[in-house]
Symmetry: C2
Subunit: 321 residues, 2 copies
């Protein structure tokens, strides 16, 4: 398996401690999740019905401010797995560095894959991929710049896994145009990555193709029950976005005395330039805080945001050691 955040089992194997004792900041998953509440027995027992899946789609359209065709899937990752089937194989260009699943999945399916460093360089691709805001460096692209690129590529896939707290960055409201495909993650902003829920939004033909490849019951009953509630809870989303914005500043301030500089970030994670990221990761790990390093970038350390006050305190203590 490729290297990912959230691999807390590796941290435990190396540094010990029960999983519950660790603070996992190796991902960009909100640590103050949407309340799961009671799941009705029906959602565990029955196959999800078309009406239930359609209600989930409507809730997602509400949250994502779009009226475009949409399909629920087992996480944004499930949509990424299907990208090679979107079009006849050809030339894919990926705005890099970014999430490390795109290149190998497309390559394995016979696509010619090129990683490029600037938006302009995506032009001419049969399939162009932009993560916006980008993971891990938080780079953002204005919707108008992305729309300007659309006529110059076959497909433009915008992975908006980290956009929820900065909705003005999203292109979801423009979805429905041919060639534009938006991927959304539910689990990161709502702090429920274990639920496995995400969405693809786009032109009816493409969404139909993705839905057909996903099958009649692509998500669980619990994902439908919780997703329908969470995606309609505007007050929670607003309060969470505001809290995350404050917490980003708090984290940036906390690490500053160590001399780390901010490479960039989205509202769910911060990427810092350090002298030695592996050394920093080990230091955190001895305090049972897990962070993310990048084999190709030995000075980069990515930290998710702590949730509760005790988590912030532990982070401060470890930083002070």
């Amino acid at each position: 398996m490729r290297e990912h955040g959230g691999n807390l089992d590796h941290a435990q194997q190396r540094f010990g401690g029960r999983a519950e004792a660790w603070i996992d900041l190796s991902t960009g998953i909100n640590r103050l999740p949407y309340p799961v509440g009671e799941i009705d027995a029906h959602h565990w027992q029955a196959l999800p019905s078309r009406s239930e899946i359609e209600a989930l789609h409507q809730a997602a359209r509400h949250a994502y401010r779009t009226s475009a065709p949409i399909v629920a899937m087992g996480g944004a990752q499930a949509a990424i797995q299907l990208l090679p089937q979107l079009a006849p194989r050809g030339r894919a260009r990926i705005l890099a560095p970014t999430y490390n699943e795109y290149a190998p999945i497309l390559s394995a399916a016979g696509w010619e894959v090129e990683e490029v460093g600037a938006l302009d360089a995506l032009a001419g691709a049969n399939l162009a991929i932009v993560v916006n805001p980008n993971n891990p460096d938080g780079r953002r692209h204005a919707p108008k710049d992305l729309l300007a690129l659309l006529p110059h590529v076959g497909y433009l896939v915008i992975d908006e896994s980290f956009v929820d707290a900065v909705p003005d960055v999203s292109l979801a409201s423009e979805a429905g145009e041919r060639g534009l495909l938006i991927l959304r993650s539910f689990g990161k902003f709502y702090g429920l990555a274990g639920l496995r829920l995400g969405f693809a939004i786009g032109h009816a033909d493409d969404i139909g193709k993705i839905a057909a490849a996903s099958g009649p019951w692509p998500v669980s009953g619990a994902a439908i029950a919780i997703g329908c509630r969470a995606l309609r809870d505007d007050a929670w989303a607003k309060a969470t976005s505001a809290r995350l914005a404050r917490d980003c500043v708090r984290l940036d301030d906390m690490v500053q005395p160590r001399g780390w500089t901010l490479v960039g970030g989205a509202p769910l994670f911060r990427l810092y330039e350090t002298a030695d990221a592996l050394a920093a990761q080990e230091k955190f790990a001895r305090g049972q805080i897990w962070s993310r390093v990048f084999a190709q970038k030995p000075t980069w350390l990515r930290l998710g945001l702590p949730g509760s006050e005790p988590e912030w305190l532990r982070l401060a203590e470890v930083l002070a050691r």
Copy 2:
């Protein structure tokens, strides 16, 4: 979407009533499910780790009496969606009539699909599909007869979605041989279809290919938590198998006075030959019991097994009308 059982929303639209008031016998899902219990917050919030997924695989190997390579998926259906990718497209033969997803999924992916009526007629196919016990007619094939077919086909896919209560019919213990792929459903026998959990078992190369296509987080944290518990609970499985065997006899006896004859069945459903299945379905529906009919077979009515005593009583009342 293709016609399936479990489409209770259609029944409600036609016949009214709240979903909770209906007894859904249109599927082969156990109506006395494995107890869901408490789901630890961790399983909702975190991405499933490799260790957790491996623990689920071990629990499934235990339940299915196999040591072969295995991969967890979002239901047996998720494995079916990937079948076209198992081998270069060619000639698929399906032992029919059977579950109605195989033929269209393979056809849509460019396979030449032929439905055949006898096991022998599968020989010569690049991909042969047998549902064992079969849905909807309960036909069973002895493991030795299936193994004898193996050298005469490219791939032999055995869908064992309904085998749990009759484990001697399963070929899972023989899995691992090249060309043999076993699909298992968790949700039917354990009565938790909304959880979306199933498994593919087979040769390491094929399981590796399916795992790669499924991505790093193919199932939810809840599916891992509940699956690990349920698949290790031998006492529950044994008691449930015995109860289902008794309940099959009870249902067959109950419908006999109507003159219906048993076409066949598995421990989770019964298929009856009736004078007019649509009329029977309507009669049941007016008592808010939903059943399954088949457009191609106007005399076939499939009934799942009621769960609680009140459900059995309501069925008896409706039958007596």
